[in-house]
Symmetry: C2
Subunit: 201 residues, 2 copies
């Protein structure tokens, strides 16, 4: 398969990209600052340009995007906009635009997160975005034609992120990276459609 | 209690407003085109002005906001923006801004919808928005201080909306309006916090 991995320079994206390559797939990595292709998923023109450059694909995986973390009482909707434009609408745009490039039987795999169900302190914006991505996928999966599919992987706190983020998530179980990557494999190589693949521990 | 009902001219809002009034509460109705106070929840300045005018309240209920319905293949993220600015970020802003006006022990009650879990055809945008509101409430509830609370009512297809919307939701059960209004009563007069109150049938 020809697989486009967006966010391929992040902790999860890197592992996803190398895993699919080791499974014999042709992997093209896109990212905001690194990768074979530069893309800012928050910019529709950038998404269009990426797909035009890559051409027809069998799978599109996105692990890119973050959202605002910070004290709730001081949060404004303006602070939420970068995450909405990026992790939420950026991933939505990958599906809406990528449909013109996704081959019959192909799949989209987006990434949300455990916050949709179990938000951490200061993480209400991220919770909102993750919940939005999950429900988007439920709707989008019903609209897929030509045996195409769309799923979302919802990771908990990945063990590789413990040093960077662990302090913000007291009491969250660590997710083995291998187990998390398995969810992406299930989405791309399996038959599932419209699933929120939760990997919380 | 002094209760602010936003969206009080809609099918659900009207019934919510009259019900709380009949239960002995002081109800102030706000709406985009009617009600004692005019408000566009998509505009932060309008939300600020509304709260400044109303002053301290015991409860804020929002039944306002809609989202894009239409063919998935032709949808763009631009078409989704009015719903995101209104039903999603408008409701978020009611909580973020309203916190300065909500008394100790007071509550916010937002409105999402069954689409978060069971989207209809052409309803992926609305699904996304509803899922976002639900997860926002899970996070926001944890951040409440002074015994204040926030919940969201998630209605199915209300019987009063059958003529207007029924054709778009084949196979969805009709929800008796009285049962739906009970969820708002539970949120405002009860002790629940951080709950997605599903009223699907």
């Amino acid at each position: 398969m020809k697989i486009l991995v967006i966010g391929g320079s992040g902790t999860i994206g890197r592992k996803v990209a190398t895993t699919f390559a080791s499974r014999g797939h042709e992997v093209i990595v896109a990212g905001r600052t690194s990768g074979a292709i530069t893309v800012d998923i928050a910019q529709h023109a950038s998404v269009e340009a990426m797909f035009a450059q890559v051409g027809a694909i069998d799978a599109c995986i996105c692990t890119a995007g973050t959202g605002y973390y910070g004290p709730f009482a001081a949060m404004t909707t303006e602070m939420m906009m970068p995450g909405i434009q990026g992790k939420l609408l950026g991933q939505v745009d990958l599906v809406l635009t990528g449909l013109r490039y996704l081959k019959r039987g192909g799949s989209f795999t987006l990434t949300s997160g455990i916050a949709a169900q179990h938000p951490a302190r200061n993480g209400t914006c991220v919770a909102m975005i993750n919940g939005a991505v999950n429900s988007f996928v439920l709707g989008a999966a019903q609209e897929m034609t030509d045996e195409r599919r769309v799923n979302v992987v919802s990771p908990g706190l990945v063990e590789d992120s413990r040093e960077r983020y662990g302090a913000f998530f007291p009491g969250y179980n660590l997710v083995p990276m291998e187990k998390l990557v398995n969810a992406y494999i299930l989405s791309v190589e399996g038959a599932v459609n419209g699933k929120v693949l939760k990997v919380y521990s």
